[in-house]
Point group: C2
Chain length 281, copies 2
């Protein structure tokens, strides 16, 4: 496995792969890999002849006062894990390589980014779509893989690719969870022992809500109130948002019908965790 | 020469050309071709094995009260002219094909779009960069050709391509003029006989300004005042802007030095004309 830090060299590698007629799978990440990321890499390996893992903690998608500086980084550990999945190349550019002096071009997906994390983190999705557009243009993947844990991000990227006529498949893979149900996340590393013990309340509450819907409850306000109550009972948890939305366009749902996304963002101390579930009605 | 109206078919044609190892040149236009456009097509033909002319009057780059509805259209005439240059394919999509219901993704180049036409036409360049990003993704050209007449547009597109790591050369070709010096423009068709007779004052004033700079004048305020005076003397002309800027980053110039762009936008009746000259000092 090769680790490449500059755009010219990765383009060279891509060109060679294309000349050999190889298909290319891209897994864009911010590194500090966990089983969620590895599941994307394994799928990419199964689908493509060349697998590229990008690792870039993208300053553009962090707001003022967010955790850009503290975001955990471990390229050596990541490389060891990635290699075991059969990944061929890690592309780990510097900030200066991605955003040279005078950088000024941005990609926005409107509407889909208004609610959920878009409302709590202004500018976040502009950062995500801009860096992913750049990575798509650099790597020219046939397929790119994203996790369902960042449900809104996955939809926003699919929408960007479709709207801008980008020639690739954006593939969304299921959430991978710890044994206690907690969704895998690089940010779990921030949690204190007590916070980590309390965090699975997100997953448990989501499962409970889904089962209530499956047994007949259709009123989003009722479901939302029950989630609110359950999470509020945990003293370490501070709710950022509870959203019950159409799973395809993220518009608010009043009467639950069709594929529905229940998405949460909850703070444990300084750590903001997200989780979600899709219910098919 | 083939005329293609849908994205799936043009992608098919592109794929075939790529399989044959052909290079692709794209000339993006809004149609109603004149010698300026034809000069781009001829250059594209000289540089590439497949030449694609796109014709799309892009609603996104017209503001409220601008001339989107009236913009002249003549696909039959355009096709006859394009064919003579050796163009292979005209891609003339419908608005619905380019912006299907729910379209919501936009590309912005900041700073470079603040002044000149960006200041007079808010949202204009967002429309331009968005449609050109889409055309680049659909056609995947090796080279794309733009005219120096839209000096700011050409720089903005070069900047977008560089910032977003788009893999093509954006080539800027010289302004083509009528015998009386008037820059070729599809919008010249709007002018009354009297307005058309008066319009070359733009070119004449620009030449005069350039020659003053070449003979030693370095004060932008002085040059600007002289241009203002010369054009104001024409009763049919109403000045929108006179800009003297650094030709690479479009920042205002006080003491003229290095490659300098003098750019004008002037209304004749309801018609807004632009023209410019670059002076190397």
């Amino acid at each position: 496995m090769e680790i490449i830090h500059d755009i010219a060299s990765i383009k060279q590698a891509i060109k060679k792969a294309r000349q050999a007629g190889h298909t290319i799978g891209l897994v864009p990440t911010m590194g500090y890999l966990h089983e969620g990321h590895l599941s994307l890499l394994r799928q990419a390996r199964a689908d493509n002849q060349l697998v590229i893992l990008s690792i870039f903690v993208n300053p553009l998608q962090f707001g003022v006062g967010e955790d850009y500086e503290e975001y955990p980084r471990d390229l050596t550990g990541d490389a060891a894990q990635a290699e075991k999945t059969g990944c061929h190349i890690i592309f780990a550019p510097t900030v200066k390589e991605m955003y040279p002096q005078g950088y000024n071009t941005f990609v926005d997906v409107e509407k889909l980014t208004d609610g959920l994390c878009g409302a709590s983190r202004p500018g976040h999705f502009r950062g995500v779509t801009t860096v992913v557009a750049k990575l798509f243009n650099i790597v020219t993947p046939d397929r790119a893989y994203f996790g369902q844990k960042d449900a809104q991000q996955a939809l926003v990227i699919q929408k960007m690719a479709r709207d801008l006529n980008m020639d690739l498949d954006v593939i969304i893979m299921p959430i991978i969870r710890e044994d206690d149900g907690q969704a895998m996340s690089s940010r779990n590393a921030y949690l204190s022992h007590e916070e980590r013990k309390a965090a699975p309340i997100l997953n448990h509450t989501l499962i409970q809500a889904a089962s209530q819907i499956q047994t007949g409850e259709r009123d989003a306000t009722t479901i939302r109130a029950q989630i609110f109550q359950a999470i509020s009972a945990e003293p370490l948890a501070a709710i950022d948002y509870i959203s019950i939305v159409d799973a395809t366009d993220l518009t608010d749902v009043i009467k639950i019908k069709g594929p529905t996304l229940i998405a949460l963002a909850v703070r444990f101390g300084k750590t903001r965790l997200i989780d979600n579930i899709i219910v098919e009605v």
